[in-house]
């Protein structure tokens, strides 16, 4: 039972630089593959809806704007998103249509500002396979 067992540690830290970071004024850099906000690059997307089906928080919504010209609209509800990047893993395209950036300061006072949407024409698959450009069998579109 030592009296003032903590004294040497306290005195040693008296003139050391504080460990706390002055956050809003000095920012910490985020590690390499940090999971921030998901986003879509529309030209790669083949509308297989794997991301919409696998998203735990139902934050991805794909609706067809106009069936004839195969125009689709995807809304990512970033206020519901839990940033788990499952959509990136489930996306069958290579290079990935769904990607995730490392932006974490996304707080806003209005939830509508958090919703991002893309209107895009469904990409015409490069005719590498003679089969018609049907969506891959694994995904059954749920209109």
């Amino acid at each position: 039972m030592k009296i003032a067992a903590f004294l040497p540690e306290l005195l040693r830290h008296l003139f050391k630089k504080p460990a706390t970071v002055d956050y809003p004024f000095k920012k910490l850099e985020v590690p390499k593959d940090f999971r921030g906000t998901p986003f879509l690059n529309p030209d790669m997307c083949i509308v297989c809806r794997a991301c919409e089906r696998d998203c735990p928080a139902e934050a991805i919504e794909i609706t067809s704007v106009n069936e004839a010209e195969k125009r689709f609209r995807m809304i990512i509800h970033n206020d519901r998103c839990i940033h788990c990047a499952q959509c990136v893993d489930s996306c069958p395209t290579t290079p990935k249509a769904m990607q995730i950036d490392s932006l974490f300061e996304i707080a806003s006072d209005d939830r509508h500002k958090l919703k991002k949407d893309w209107v895009y024409v469904r990409a015409v698959l490069k005719p590498k396979a003679p089969a018609p450009a049907a969506p891959p069998p694994a995904a059954e579109p749920k209109i």
Binding site: M1, K2, I3, A5, F6, E9, L10, A19, P31, K32, D33, F34, R35, R53, D54, C55, P56, A57, I82, H83, C84, A85, Q86, D89, S90
Partner: protein, 400 residues
């Protein structure tokens, strides 16, 4: 003359909403009634409406501190249902992250115990050193709290050489700091005075009330799922079972710090012995009908997931029993005969994760003492009288 003190759902000492109604006589607690359900999110019903893949992230959000425990326990069970055997490397990474999570959870608890006892410098230092392991986890998994490392059939991210070296470095720093906290926790007189002889739970009580985890191990009950029912990689790692037999909060501090040191050993073994190969196996979307009980040693005790599948891509029944729930009956026994000053310390000693345990509540006969205003003179007389004949016999050495 006693009156009831509501350590109500909202209280500075409680990080989460739980209601403890203490029937108090002066400073001594005579009776306790606990009431939960303020944070019940109907998780088991929700799990029946989500697919297996989505349920991984749902079970991960049962608790903020031990998120990887719940998701590993769930994924481990589902892999048995789907007869998947994840590759060795994937298993090693999964249980490396779970040991890192045990380190961060125990360091967090050490700080909270210090804060509850008013030892704020200890709280500041332990939480500063906890940042080392949080940065490691963020480097590995991309997020500080919900690591989302697990997927059906393995893990989602791999470890490269640079990360392995950084993990070993971090563990070396943390081992030195943990030994220092062990020394402080056991020798700072004012801190020991607050935790020695407080919250007594004898071994028989611990067994009969089904206490789990460090609370049971601090009362001499040597039960640990990693030793008793070793899952995945734990039969290949050598580590000791840490117990103490002082049956009080000091024993729980000692057990948790010893477990920290054991976790460092395991992490080093896992990082050095990381087999190579791929980290995940393709998983089907549907699971064959069947049921499985999967057990996992979370930082607070034993997690049990009972999963029943009916052949569709959604579970038919998911029953989750979090460790904190097992300790509630033991908490009420510990709280009786304690001081008001000890309430937050005893309650924090089981490291309650209330959002985990929100599926059930326990009870003790509510005290009959009604709320009554006591005259000043006899309040002071009783306060002084109580000091002369302190009713609680402290068997531990009490330096002050």
């Amino acid at each position: 003359m006693n009156f009831q003190i509501p350590i109500g759902p909202q209280h500075p000492a409680l990080k989460e909403p739980i209601s403890l109604r203490m029937t108090v006589d002066g400073e001594v607690i005579t009776d306790v009634d606990i009431r939960l359900g303020y944070n019940h999110r109907g998780l088991e019903k929700l799990a029946e409406e989500k697919t297996w893949l989505q349920n991984i992230y749902l079970t991960e959000r049962i608790c903020g501190i031990c998120s990887h425990s719940h998701s590993s326990c769930f994924v481990q069970g589902v892999e048995k249902l789907m007869e998947l055997t994840p590759p060795r490397r994937g298993l090693y990474i999964r249980y490396l992250v779970s040991e890192l999570e045990r380190v961060h959870s125990h360091l967090l608890w050490l700080g909270v115990a210090g804060h509850e006892a008013g030892f704020d410098s200890f709280f500041m230092y332990t939480w500063r050193d906890r940042e080392v392991v949080m940065d490691l986890l963020e480097m590995i998994s991309g997020n500080r709290v919900h690591y989302a490392m697990n997927t059906l059939g393995g893990v989602r991210r791999d470890l490269d050489e640079g990360q392995k070296a950084r993990i070993l470095e971090g563990v070396a720093i943390l081992r030195k700091r943990s030994e220092y906290y062990f020394h402080i926790g056991a020798s700072e007189p004012s801190f020991v005075a607050r935790i020695a002889g407080v919250g007594l739970l004898s071994k028989e009580q611990a067994v009969s009330l089904c206490a789990v985890g460090p609370v049971a191990r601090a009362s001499g009950v040597a039960r640990d799922v990693r030793k008793e029912d070793p899952y995945a990689v734990y039969d290949e790692l050598d580590f000791e079972l840490c117990t103490a037999d002082t049956c009080d909060v000091l024993g729980r501090v000692v057990v948790r710090v010893k477990e920290l040191l054991q976790s460092y050993r395991m992490i080093e073994q896992m990082v050095k012995g990381l087999p190579d190969g791929d980290i995940v196996v393709k998983a089907p979307r549907k699971a064959k009908p069947g049921e499985v009980v999967s057990r996992y040693e979370a930082p607070r005790g034993e997690n049990i997931h009972y999963i029943k599948a009916n052949g569709s891509d959604k579970p038919e029944r998911l029953k989750v029993r979090a460790p904190t729930l097992g300790n509630y009956a033991a908490t009420l026994v510990m709280l009786r005969k304690g001081f008001i000053a000890d309430i937050p310390l005893i309650f924090a000693a089981i490291d309650p994760c209330i959002c985990c345990a929100e599926r059930t509540v326990t009870l003790v006969k509510a005290g009959s003492g009604e709320e009554s205003v006591v005259r000043m003179s006899d309040l002071r007389r009783r306060a002084i009288a109580r000091h002369q004949n302190a009713p609680v016999k402290r068997n531990a050495v009490w330096p002050l």
